[in-house]
Structures are given as structure tokens and as C-alpha cells.
């Protein structure tokens, strides 16, 4: 490696275009699917689509209307299946709930028919491989502490799906991807947290090597479910309250108060489990210098998240010194970006 690469300017390419451009990252999330690829401008382009679909009766009129409105659909089993964000909008119009191919961070066993839909969405956002066998790193959750889940099936399924698209699929831990994306300045040492729709993942890494990884089956959907239960409103309403731009440091209504309460509970739950796992783990690296905590994921995008996180962090006696606690500036796409880093470096 040349010295020029040590001080590389992210806006320029000092290496060949194909070398930088190869590799794609895929965030297979419960709520969103995101595929990241390097672009010609030295940055990255992330294609995002909602991981949901809605089936409606098929007729020529509906099909023509959807085509005119550029609403993505697929004809499957004699039904029109609307895919992605449009499914949410149509669901609101029809007063229905969308169907979710994934649940709690993993492929949903109740939605086996959704596999073709997911494949179609992933194929759309990934695009064709630039070369046959191009590396594609996709994220998988770590083993959960609080539920018995089968990561093997989930991982194998997506490996097969992505390989069938002409890529060479590799799995990477979701929180480890956050480390790749957000802790480059710290030599990839610190704690990466991904707060997704179905799960929250944590990874403690030392110089890019994961020392501890785990997940908990609580995320944005868990908050929606509990807020819905407390307020007696549909879950879609709870999601809307959460995503309409509130600040959980200063809730203005009973609804916002409920959202803030469960956010604090989620953050405290994750931090407590990090502490417990760290204290029980053997041969953990000793961090003499404070480490940073990087948060990412769609669930962390709510207003006041990091401030509340710091509040909850101050309440517990963390076993290692912590420096900066921050949220990624691109929280929704940080995991996909981290997967892209892994794919580009060939981890």
C-alpha cells in the first residue's frame, strides 16, 4: 500500500475506478431494505425501499392505474401485490395493515409467500452485479439474548437469494457493519449499536475485530406495539406518532410521553445487557483509552435520541471508559454503508 492511500481524499479516487467501485452492501432490515454502492463521485448511493407489501384484487383497471402512478407491483397468484413504500400508502387508503416479510429482525415464518416479493425488491435495489461474482455483504443479526431465534436459516436463505442474482454473498453482523461505517476515526475500536425495526444489535470491536456481539428482540416495532397498547390506538398510529418529528426529551402530549417512556426503556435495556455481557465475558480486551459508542438505525432517528441515550448511560456503571456517544449522520443507511465497506475490502 502506498503512502498516498494513507491520506486519501474521499472526494477523489487515487486507485482504479473498478477497484473502488466493486462490492455492494445490503442492509436486510425488518422495516427497510437498503443497498449501498460506490458511485462515480466518490461517494455512495444507497437505494432504499420499504420491506412491506400489500395484495389487492387484480383487474386491468387497477393494473393500469398502478402503472400510471408508477407504483411498483407484481402479479403473484392472480393477485396484484404492491411493493414497498407505496404499500404503506395504499394500506392507509384501504384501512388495512401491510404485510411484513420479516419479523423481529429475521425472515417471518408466517410470510413464506413473501419470499418472491423480497427477492424482487432486493433485486431492484441491488441491481445487476458489475462483474459476475461481485462481493455482496449483507447484514444479519447476532444471536439474541432474549428470544430463541434461528439465524442459520435466515442467513442461508439470503445467501442463496443473493448468489442467484450473480453475486458472491457474505454475511456480516449488523452492528459490526456500524463499526465499519462510523468508527473509522477510532481505528474501528469501540461499540457499534444498530437500532432497527425488529431488533437492536450491539458489537464491541477492537481494531475492527468483533469481541462481543449480541442482539435483543426489541426495536421500533416493540416501541410501536407497547405504545399502541398503552394508548389504545392502532400500531400504525403509534408509528405515525413516532415518525412525525417528536423530541423524546420534551414530550408534549400523553402520546409523546408514551413514546419517550418506551424509548428510554429500550435504551436502558440495551445498555444493561452490554454491561452484563461485558462483565461476564472472558478475555475481553482492556480498553485503557475511552471508546466511542456509535448509534445507527432508523429507530435512532427520533429527535433527542442521543441525549436520552447519554442520560440513560449516566445512570449505569459502565465497565469500560466511554468517550463520545454519537449517532450516525446517515443513521438509516449506516448499516448498508458498513456492509459496503466490508464488501469493498473483502472482509
Amino acid at each position: 500500500m502506498t503512502e498516498e492511500n494513507d491520506n486519501i481524499d474521499p472526494s477523489t479516487n487515487n486507485t482504479t475506478e473498478t477497484e473502488i467501485g466493486l462490492g455492494k452492501g445490503l442492509d436486510v432490515g425488518t422495516a427497510n431494505l437498503a443497498a449501498a454502492v460506490q458511485n462515480d463521485e466518490g461517494g455512495i448511493t444507497v437505494n432504499v425501499e420499504r420491506n412491506a407489501f400489500l395484495d389487492i384484487p387484480s383487474d386491468v383497471y387497477s393494473k393500469n392505474m398502478l402503472s400510471k402512478l408508477k407504483v411498483p407491483y407484481v402479479v403473484h397468484n392472480t393477485k396484484l401485490v404492491v411493493i414497498g413504500e407505496a404499500a404503506f400508502e395504499l394500506a392507509n387508503v384501504f384501512g388495512r395493515e401491510t404485510r411484513r416479510p420479516m419479523m423481529d429482525g429475521l425472515i417471518s415464518p408466517q410470510e413464506q409467500d413473501a419470499l418472491p416479493m423480497m427477492k424482487m425488491i432486493i433485486s431492484k435495489i441491488l441491481g445487476e452485479p458489475q462483474v459476475q461474482g461481485e462481493n455482496c455483504y449483507f447484514c444479519v443479526p447476532a444471536e439474541s439474548l432474549d428470544v430463541d431465534n434461528n439465524i442459520v436459516y435466515h442467513q442461508g436463505l439470503f445467501e442463496t437469494m443473493i448468489n442467484s442474482m450473480g453475486y458472491q454473498a457474505h454475511a456480516i453482523n449488523e452492528a459490526h457493519a456500524v463499526v465499519f461505517s462510523e468508527l473509522a476515526e477510532n481505528d474501528f475500536t469501540g461499540i457499534g449499536l444498530s437500532f432497527g425495526g425488529g431488533m437492536a444489535n450491539a458489537c464491541i470491536a477492537y481494531k475492527s475485530i468483533p469481541c462481543l456481539s449480541f442482539s435483543v428482540a426489541r426495536g421500533g416495532d416493540w416501541i410501536d406495539k407497547n405504545v399502541s397498547g398503552v394508548l389504545g390506538v392502532p400500531r400504525s398510529k403509534a408509528t405515525h406518532i413516532k415518525e412525525r418529528g417528536i423530541d423524546i426529551r420534551d414530550p408534549k402530549s400523553r402520546e409523546e410521553e408514551a413514546v419517550a417512556i418506551y424509548y428510554r426503556s429500550l435504551i436502558n435495556y440495551v445498555l444493561s445487557n452490554i454491561k452484563t455481557r461485558f462483565e461476564s465475558g472472558q478475555n475481553m480486551p482492556s480498553f485503557n483509552d475511552p471508546v466511542d459508542i456509535a448509534c445507527a438505525g432508523g429507530t435512532s432517528m427520533i429527535g433527542g435520541f442521543i441525549e436520552v441515550f447519554r442520560d440513560e448511560f449516566a445512570k449505569i456503571d459502565f465497565p469500560i471508559p466511554v468517550g463520545r456517544i454519537f449517532r450516525s449522520e446517515e443513521a438509516l443507511t449506516a448499516v448498508a454503508k458498513g456492509c459496503l465497506v466490508a464488501a469493498a475490502i473483502g472482509e
Partner: protein, 323 residues
């Protein structure tokens, strides 16, 4: 007869009955007693005398009257005597019956006791009653089966206890062997023939309970490998009695540790089975979905976001890896 009875009746009518206490209370200490018959006789004699003296009744008629009176008296007397006899007889018979009654009562009591005893014996033995005999046999069989069940449970308890004891013994044996293993390096150092033993390479251990078990398992496997290496070196060393002893001990400990590792690993869920290098192929799940589905996805643009480049990240990573 009628005259005497009339006299007696009149005497009775004119008399009163008094108890001895009443007479005593009246101040009478003695009383003269006379029978009513005597009085009647005296009256009759007085009447006869008066009649004879009066000359009103013919002496022959008088004699007839007297004779008639005597006969009446005799009849009355005999009747009274007969009545007395009958009373005595009745009393005697009453006494006899009373005695008999007492006798019967005692007999009944003894018979009751004998009957109860006989019933008890009959219930026990059931002699002569086939139904009772059958019931007794059934009851005996039930008791025997219950006893067999109790014995079986006792046997199972004993075998479980024996297994627990065996397990405890094997754990103790394993602990002893582990202690011997810990002392092995010191013994080896005391040998005249220096023997180099490779130290097990430090293995990184992952956090968590299962990771701890994995690391423990790995350490035991490394220790076993070291013992095998030491055993080979002993075998390659010149013949030496002490070396042979150590070698035999090593071999014994190695085989025992190997067995323990297998058992320990299975109990901890760590199998000696190796994973296949061939990844599981889930492509069959997508059969049917591979057919071209009618869709307008080609004409639809997905939402695109742009972000900062990853060149700096890549550079850092390459630097870390020494690239």
C-alpha cells in the same frame, strides 16, 4: 260355707289393715292374732250352741247343719291349701325359671363370644366358602403385585442411587486426574531426560457462557494434545524405567481424558461432529418463484440516497491489516 264366708267378709269389712309401723306408732308393742277362720268357727259354735239351747232346731237338723258346716269348712280349707300349694308351686317354678333364665343368659353370652370368635376365624380362614376363598385369593394376589411394585421401585431407586454414586465417583476421578495433569509438568521436569513439551497456544475466548464452555473445551483438548506430544517424546526417548512409567501414566491419562472430553462435550452440547464445508442450499425454496412474474418494477425508480464515501474507511482498514 256361705255363712263362714259371709262372716269372714263381714269381719274383713269391719276390720282394717294396718302395718306394723302404724301399730308401733299407735303405741302398740304387742298384738294378739287370731285367724278369721277361728273367729268364724267360734261364731258358728256359738250359733250352734244357741240354737241347741233354744230348742228351735231339731237336734238332727242341728247335726246336719254342723256336718254341713264341717264339710264346708273342709272344702274351704282344702281349697285354701290347694291354693297355697299352687302358690308355692308357682313360686318354685318361678324360681326355677329365674334360675334357668340366668343360666340361659350366661349361655347366650358365652355363645355370642363363641360366635364372634367363630366369625372371626371364618373371616380369616374362609373355610368351606368358595366365594370367600376366591376373594381371599384375589386379595392375596393384589398384595403380591403391590409388593412386587414396591420391590421394583426400590430397585429403581437403588439403581438411580448407584448411578449417582458412579457419577460422583467419576467426577472425583476426573478431578484427581486433572490434579495429576497439573502436576505433570513438575514431574517431567524432575526426569533425568529433559523433555520439551509444547505449551498450548493461548486461544482467544469469546464472551458468554457458551463461549466459556467452548474455551474450556478447547483448553482441555489442547492439554490432551500436549499430553499426547509428551507421550510421543517419551516413547522416542531412550529406554528408561522412569520414562516408561511416565509414558504409561501419560497414555492412561490421555485415553481417560479423551473419554471424558467426549462425554463432557456431549453434555455441554458441543459435539465432536464436524460441520460440513458445503453450505446449505435453500434454492429449492425459490422454485416456482423463478418464473418471470408480471411486474412493472423495471419502470419504477427506487428511492435513492447519497452519502459520504468510504474511501477513508477503506484506507484505515487496509492500514490496520498491514496492507
Amino acid at each position: 260355707m256361705e255363712t263362714v264366708n259371709e262372716i269372714k267378709e263381714r269381719l274383713s269389712a269391719k276390720s282394717r289393715t294396718a302395718t306394723l309401723d302404724e301399730l308401733r306408732s299407735e303405741g302398740r308393742k304387742q298384738v294378739r292374732l287370731i285367724r278369721a277362720e277361728h273367729i268364724a268357727a267360734m261364731v258358728s259354735q256359738a250359733v250352734h250352741a244357741a240354737i241347741e239351747n233354744s230348742g228351735l232346731i231339731d237336734p238332727a237338723e242341728h247335726e246336719q247343719l254342723v256336718e254341713k258346716s264341717r264339710e264346708e269348712f273342709k272344702e274351704i280349707l282344702s281349697e285354701r291349701q290347694a291354693e297355697a300349694k299352687r302358690a308355692e308351686e308357682i313360686e318354685r317354678r318361678l324360681a326355677e325359671r329365674t334360675d334357668e333364665l340366668e343360666t340361659f343368659r350366661s349361655q347366650v353370652t358365652s355363645l355370642d363370644e363363641a360366635l364372634n370368635q367363630a366369625r372371626a376365624e371364618l373371616a380369616e380362614k374362609g373355610d368351606g366358602d368358595p366365594e370367600i376363598k376366591n376373594e381371599l385369593e384375589l386379595a392375596q394376589r393384589s398384595v403380591m403385585s403391590l409388593e412386587a411394585e414396591v420391590e421394583r421401585c426400590k430397585g429403581e431407586t437403588e439403581s438411580a442411587r448407584a448411578e449417582a454414586e458412579a457419577a460422583k465417583a467419576s467426577v472425583q476421578q476426573l478431578q484427581m486426574q486433572m490434579q495429576q495433569l497439573q502436576q505433570m509438568p513438575q514431574q517431567m521436569q524432575a526426569m533425568p531426560m529433559p523433555m520439551q513439551m509444547q505449551q498450548p497456544a493461548p486461544q482467544p475466548q469469546a464472551a458468554g457462557n457458551s463461549d466459556m464452555m467452548m474455551s474450556l473445551f478447547q483448553e482441555m483438548a489442547n492439554l490432551k494434545a500436549s499430553m499426547q506430544a509428551g507421550q510421543q517424546q517419551v516413547a522416542a526417548a531412550p529406554a528408561d524405567s522412569s520414562g516408561a512409567d511416565v509414558g504409561a501414566m501419560l497414555e492412561k491419562l490421555t485415553s481417560s481424558l479423551n473419554d471424558r472430553l467426549e462425554t463432557f462435550g456431549k453434555k455441554m452440547g458441543i459435539s465432536a461432529a464436524v460441520e460440513s464445508d458445503v453450505p446449505t442450499d435453500f434454492s429449492g425454496l425459490f422454485k416456482g418463484a423463478e418464473a418471470n412474474l408480471e411486474s412493472n418494477m423495471d419502470n419504477v425508480e427506487v428511492k435513492k440516497k447519497t452519502g459520504g464515501g468510504i474511501a477513508a474507511n477503506l484506507a484505515k482498514l487496509k492500514k490496520l491489516k498491514g496492507g
